[in-house]
């Protein structure tokens, strides 16, 4: 599952904890992916207006300013963004229905199972 080719589209990591975000970015970049980051939902929306739609979004849920839930709502209402697959990466245990309501393509509890993450990313990127 490793790749030495660079992809043209990138992975967007939306995560407020800088160390978590940068660690994931380093890891995914090492795997050959392009990575963009945002510290909360609002920042992410701004980033998405500037770049090509990412192949997948890795979304944290508990964030200041705009949470993962709020971001997902906004994303689903925007036709330009609605189709981008979203995988949830979270530290809080959530109920099954709350997660299902987000309709994600993957659900990862921290600390992230990296091989599973790579498998999911490879499907869309």
């Amino acid at each position: 599952m490793t790749s030495t080719q660079s992809k043209t589209t990138c992975i967007l990591i939306i995560e407020d904890d800088t160390d978590v975000r940068e660690a994931l970015a380093d890891f995914l970049q090492d795997q050959g992916y392009q990575v963009a980051g945002a510290a909360n939902g609002r920042e992410a929306l701004a980033v998405l207006r500037r770049i090509e739609p990412p192949c997948i979004i890795l979304l944290d849920l508990m964030m200041p300013v705009m949470s993962g839930w709020e971001f997902r709502r906004e994303q689903q209402q925007d036709p330009a963004l609605a189709a981008i697959p979203v995988a949830v990466v979270t530290g809080i245990r959530n109920t099954v229905d709350r997660i299902a309501a987000l309709n994600p393509v993957g659900y990862f509890q921290k600390p992230v199972d990296l091989s599973a993450l790579l498998a999911t990313v490879a499907t869309y990127c």
């Binding site: 407020d16 660690a23 795997q31 530290g91």
Partner: protein, 551 residues
């Protein structure tokens, strides 16, 4: 029981009897001559003995003898007695008379004894009946209170319990019953009410909606709660009713409810006055009096215990929820550094490309270790503070260099977040006695908090001033501010200023709880002020600089 005739009557009837006997004997004189001079006098003497007693009998005897001697014994019209024959009659007369007198006296004596005995028996019966009535009442009261205890023990829900209290009191003890509780030391809130008259129940509900009462109001309920003394108003006057009204509308409601008599008992549990139980009487015509106090106080005692239990249970549930929320957040807080460390370690172990930056990656791992260690230290510190077990190492110190160095240590983190840090210190030293590590911890926590909640471009200010007795340290930021309603809970652990759990900056809110705990064990106080959301926050720490005994 015949009423004993008075002495006048007794003696005059004796005299009258003799007079009559004399007359009759006079009438019989033509037939009898001088024979049987005493014959008619026997009857009046016996009668006098029976009706009048010893005294009148003796009087009748003497008068009879005199009369007979004067009128009928030879020589007539004189008191001398010549012939021997009348002496027999006289002797007979006297013996009959005296015998009658003594017998009748004995009879009267026995009668009096019997009457006294009867009266005593009657009294005893009356006392017994009273005692039985009292015992029955006491039994009924006990039964009522036992039933009340059972009912009140059946639920730990506050509203249910309060409703049970009022339903128990009405209609057995009162026509209407109200339960008011003291909330947050200053406000009195009505939480339950009942009325025997279904039409008035709606009015009671309206009364309840009339808003809380201040504990310093002139209302008798407020007075009862302030003083812990009961208030008994056997006949509520118009003026007294007006005292209970907060406004004209309220007064009209009260007038329609028409309470005529009231008894208000404080609800006391664990030595604390927590509210009041009001008993009203209106339609039934019953008026409260001191005798009703006993059962009212007993009911109030049980009600207070039950309500306090419900409150404690509620507090316990809230604490439980708080703990659950805390633990959930704790999980989140630990998982982030774990995740960052794990991801970075995986990269270090199986890199796909050559890394030119192992140091950066190792630094990140180390940083996560420190984060987790810090979290655990904070939690343990807070736990120790809460249990009163923090070990202080007090020594004489100067706050000026302590504040300067600590603030400077945080400058890096501030600048990394795009913030400026200004430090304002006095020229001369500010000596005090304290634990420098802990005081430093207070400032670090306040600064970290300010950094966390202030967006890039903002400004932080640390200032220290003092007077003769107090040093005042302020940490001000231009950050997101705090909603005024959340200020009271700010220093409790895990009460994020932003309520919504979704949108949060994470963190367990331990920092401020630690700040408060550590400040207070130095004998100081901490407070927070914010003009509102988006308007920044200022924390003020006051520390005593005269030497106070350290725990």
């Amino acid at each position: 029981m015949l009423k004993e005739p008075g002495p006048l009557l007794r003696y005059s009837s004796a005299v009258a009897g003799i007079a009559l006997a004399t007359l009759v004997r006079l009438c019989l004189s033509p037939v009898l001559g001088a024979d049987l001079p005493f014959i008619t006098f026997f009857l009046p003497v016996v009668f006098a003995a029976f009706y009048g007693g010893m005294g009148p009998a003796l009087l009748a005897l003497i008068l009879g003898t005199l009369s007979a001697a004067f009128f009928f014994i030879h020589p007539a019209h004189s008191l001398t007695i010549a012939a021997p024959a009348p002496l027999l009659g006289l002797a007979l007369f006297f013996s009959v008379g005296l015998t009658s007198a003594f017998l009748c006296e004995a009879l009267r004596h026995a009668q009096r004894r019997a009457e006294a005995g009867a009266q005593a028996a009657l009294r005893q019966k009356g006392e017994l009946e009273r005692e039985i009535k009292e015992r029955r009442q006491a039994e009924a009261t006990l039964q009522f209170l036992t039933h009340a205890s059972e009912q009140l023990a059946s639920s730990l829900d506050l509203q249910t319990t309060a409703n049970q209290v009022v339903d128990l009191a009405v209609p057995l003890v009162a026509d209407a019953c109200l339960v008011d509780l003291l909330v947050e030391e200053t406000t009195i809130r009505r939480i339950a009410g009942a009325h025997v008259n279904p039409e008035k129940r709606e009015l009671l509900r309206e009364l309840q909606g009339h808003g809380p009462l201040s504990v310093s109001a002139a209302h008798p309920i407020a007075r009862v709660i302030r003083t812990g003394q009961f208030d008994l108003d056997p006949e509520i006057s118009a003026a007294s009713l007006a005292d209970r009204a907060q406004d004209a509308e309220h007064l009209r409601l009260l007038q329609r409810l028409d309470p005529r008599s009231s008894l208000i008992i404080p609800l006391v549990a664990r030595g604390r006055i927590m509210g009041a139980l009001s008993l009203w009487s209106s339609d039934s015509g019953r008026r409260f009096q001191a005798a009703d106090l006993n059962i009212a106080e007993e009911l109030a005692r049980r009600a207070a215990v039950a309500i306090e239990n419900a409150r404690l249970y509620q507090a316990m549930q809230e604490a439980d929820q708080h703990k659950d929320d805390f633990l959930a957040m704790l999980g989140h807080e630990l998982r982030s550094p774990l995740s960052a460390a794990h991801t970075t370690l995986q990269l270090l172990r199986h890199p796909n490309r050559d890394r030119s930056d192992p140091q950066r990656l190792l630094d990140r791992v180390e940083r996560q270790v420190h984060r987790m260690a810090r979290l655990i230290d904070d939690m343990q510190d807070l736990s120790r503070i809460n249990r009163g077990k923090v070990l202080l190492r007090p020594e004489p110190l100067d706050l000026v260099p302590l504040v300067r160095e600590t603030a400077e240590d945080c400058r890096g983190a501030a600048e990394e977040s795009g913030l400026t840090l200004a430090i304002s210190l006095p020229e001369s030293p500010v000596p005090m006695r304290g634990d420098p590590t802990r005081l430093s911890q207070v400032l670090v926590n306040l600064l970290n908090n300010a950094i966390k909640f202030t967006d890039a471009g903002g400004q932080l200010t640390v200032a220290l001033i003092h007077d003769a007795n107090w040093a005042t340290l302020t940490v001000k930021d231009t950050g997101i501010g705090i909603e005024p309603g959340l200020l009271p809970q700010l220093f409790e652990s895990f009460h994020q200023a932003e309520r919504s759990l979704e949108r949060s900056r994470g963190g367990l809110g331990l920092g401020l709880a630690l700040v408060k705990g550590l400040t207070e064990i130095h004998g100081g106080q901490v407070s927070a002020h914010s003009d509102g959301l988006g308007r920044g926050t200022e924390f003020t720490v006051r520390l005593p600089i005269i030497s106070l005994p350290m725990p």
